[in-house]
């Protein structure tokens, strides 16, 4: 099967020696994110996020179903993560890779186990369901919004970068992902293997993550504002022409 090639020894040494001098391959500082672009729409529950050259499409869909018998007052929230060979050559479709399992596990912890979405609010009363073209959909009620920040560690853990690129991920010796919500609470801290870290490093990282989360949240807010304005324009236009 197709394999994504590992960085060569020269590449590895170049990236490492750069990081030692606080220089990254793409010119970022150690605590800089790549440019973030969030696009919402054109339909409800669809977003495309670009972080540098990394692209992810997310879609929320719903259907009417019977709640679990032991939780009759709660709706069901399922998360599905898919990494196709489009993202990463060498992935075999049908069998989840280790990366995919880790990503879906973090999402599961941050959103479902943290109760970020109000599942009780998903319940419907019989005969009170309206099609989208008759009534505007009600926004999902969201308790809090955990946002993830990833760190990569090099050498013995003293050197680290935020938001590692693919090349940096390939040569890292350890990684850690922290999800922080809008109340500045740590929701998920995932450190699956890799080198052991000093307590002080983890605290330093969480402080930085908290400020990065604020930055991401601002981006999300402005994307929402932009999307709702576009939605308003669209509805007023649709009344005039309908192709």
């Amino acid at each position: 099967m197709v394999k994504e090639s590992d960085p060569s020894t020269n590449e590895r040494e170049l990236i490492l020696s750069g990081i030692k001098e606080s220089i990254r391959l793409d010119g970022r500082g150690m605590d800089d994110f790549r440019p973030l672009k969030i696009t919402l729409g054109p339909e409800y529950g669809r977003s495309e996020v670009k972080l540098g050259a990394t692209k992810v499409l997310a879609k929320v869909s719903c259907e009417v179903t019977r709640p679990f018998p032991d939780r009759p007052t709660e709706g069901i929230l399922t998360l599905n993560t898919e990494l196709s060979p489009m993202a990463f050559a060498g992935l075999e479709s049908g069998r989840p890779s280790e990366e995919e399992v880790l990503v879906s596990r973090i999402l599961e912890k941050a959103i479902r186990i943290n109760r970020a979405v109000d599942v009780e609010g998903l319940c419907i009363v019989a005969n009170e369901l309206h099609p989208v073209d008759q009534r505007n959909p009600v926004p999902l009620s969201i308790h809090h919004t955990p946002i993830c920040v990833t760190f990569a560690f090099f050498e013995n853990g003293d050197l680290w970068v935020v938001d590692p690129s693919l090349k940096e991920e390939q040569i890292r010796r350890g990684d850690m992902t922290i999800a922080i919500n809008n109340h500045k609470e740590i929701c998920v801290l995932s450190k699956a293997g890799g080198i052991p870290l000093e307590m002080s490093t983890i605290i330093q990282c969480s402080r930085l993550a908290a400020s990065k989360v604020e930055w991401v949240r601002e981006k999300i807010q402005s994307a929402i504002v932009k999307a709702s304005e576009a939605e308003k324009r669209k509805t007023s236009r649709e009344m005039i022409i309908d192709d």
Binding site: V2, L57, K59, S84, A89, D242
Partner: protein
Amino acid sequence: MTSRKRPPTKLRAITIEPNYVNRDGSALFKFGDSAVVCSVNGPTEVKLRDEKVDKATIDVVFKPLVGLPGTKDKTHEYIIRSTVESVIKSNLYPRTLIQIVCQVMMDDGNILATAINATIFALMNAGVEMKDIAVAVACIVNQDGNILVDPKLREVEKAQSYHTFAFSKTTFGLLFGESTGLFTEKQYFECYALCKVAAQEIIDEIRVKIQSDFI
């Protein structure tokens, strides 16, 4: 019943974005809001059990927007594979794999034709040698017996019959045709003729895109 303001034979706006993802070749193809991204890897190493000694193995993965791939998506994979197998010069790449991944970005009808067009453009973008170009377009016959080319999702839902055709660019012969629903022979040939005209439009669009980007 909602009637559309767009003339029955008019296609929605076509958008093509080559190099959409960082692979050997890729493209985003859109009919209006319906969008499919296709990426091509290859020719590359093939698993021993899939290896063919005289030609390339072509593997197609079709990912729906929502949920896990089902029977319909497997059918789409099969259709796309058999369509591109007839145009790729696969004997130039023996013992290799050409891996094609189609991801639906938004479904507003006519998705199979969108996927075929995206695949062809991604193959061109990847520099895979082809002896021909396939262009696909769909149409429906609605309840009033009118033919609507490039239908939107809500038109497809109310359709009497739904037809997807893929044509060869050089001969304008039919490469692939799929029809569902009830229709007469006369309706079928009318659909065929209208889609053929629309296919010419798509070819022009692709040509303009290639000229503006590469020449």
